[in-house]
Symmetry: C2
Subunit: 128 residues, 2 copies
DNA sequence: TACTTAAATAGTAATCATTACTAATAAAAG
DNA sequence: CTTTTATTAGTAATGATTACTATTTAAGTA
């Protein structure tokens, strides 16, 4: 795997960000540094970086893919506003095996309603 | 929400299946009962049923969406062959709250290499 | 039971995220 | 410095999903 400047920029954007960016967000951010970088390059690198386990996909299933740094943390996703909140406290003890399958990674997604949406609901701003 | 025969058929397919079907699989299965059902109807109903919490999305992030019944279980996904294995044993105690966010559901995805792929690797069939 | 109306449908067209393709470029190795 | 081979920019193609529209139908009401 060649260490191109495009790949470095993409990886840096993800590692520096505290948000959960999608491919196009990353493309726009990368263009601030490399004005000619192409969207295809971003996608190709995101896939490479995922395969090499240098980044990970945040996976809420209702939206397009978002990418995140690899440090172990989990996510809470609000089903009202789609906000993603990082969880750093360990929730489960990592399993090494499930039956005879080798477990190498795990993702936990808590779904629910975030604090802000709960308050708005109380105040009748967003009554269903 | 009207109780149409299309919606009933779609929900039944998901509840009866032990596989993790995508929208097109469900469309093909539904056509065995309703020969004129349209793919758009399948998609629309899958979204309705998800919003009503009558079905759920199986979410491995690397592939198109797959749908599953709602009974509480979690998933192991093989990163080699994309096989999805259901896990019925509880892995975490359900949380009611995370900080001030209301937790209504959780999804756990264990990623790794399934028994079959491990064996094939040992036998050198699928050496990387 | 017939009438009304609002939601759902079939069929098709459009959208949009992602991937594939190609000639040109640039890491990395010798 | 030259060679090799992956990577790139730019664009076209793909394919999952959504939107649109005239028609149908579930379900409420007289």
């Amino acid at each position: 795997m060649k260490n191109t400047k495009q790949r470095k920029v993409i990886l840096e954007i993800i590692n520096r960000s505290n948000e959960h960016l999608n491919a196009y967000d990353i493309y726009e951010e990368a263009r601030k540094t490399l004005k000619n970088i192409s969207l295809g390059t971003v996608y190709r690198n995101l896939n490479c970086l995922c395969n090499e386990n240098l980044i990970t996909i945040v996976n809420d299933g209702q939206e397009k893919k978002r990418y995140d740094k690899i440090e172990k943390h989990q996510h809470f996703i609000c089903t009202r506003c789609n906000k993603i909140i990082d969880i750093y406290e360990p929730i489960i003890k990592p399993l090494k095996k499930y039956e005879n399958n080798l477990v190498m990674n795990y993702k936990i997604i808590l779904e629910g309603i975030c604090e802000k949406c709960l308050k708005e609901e109380e105040n009748g701003i967003k009554r269903k």
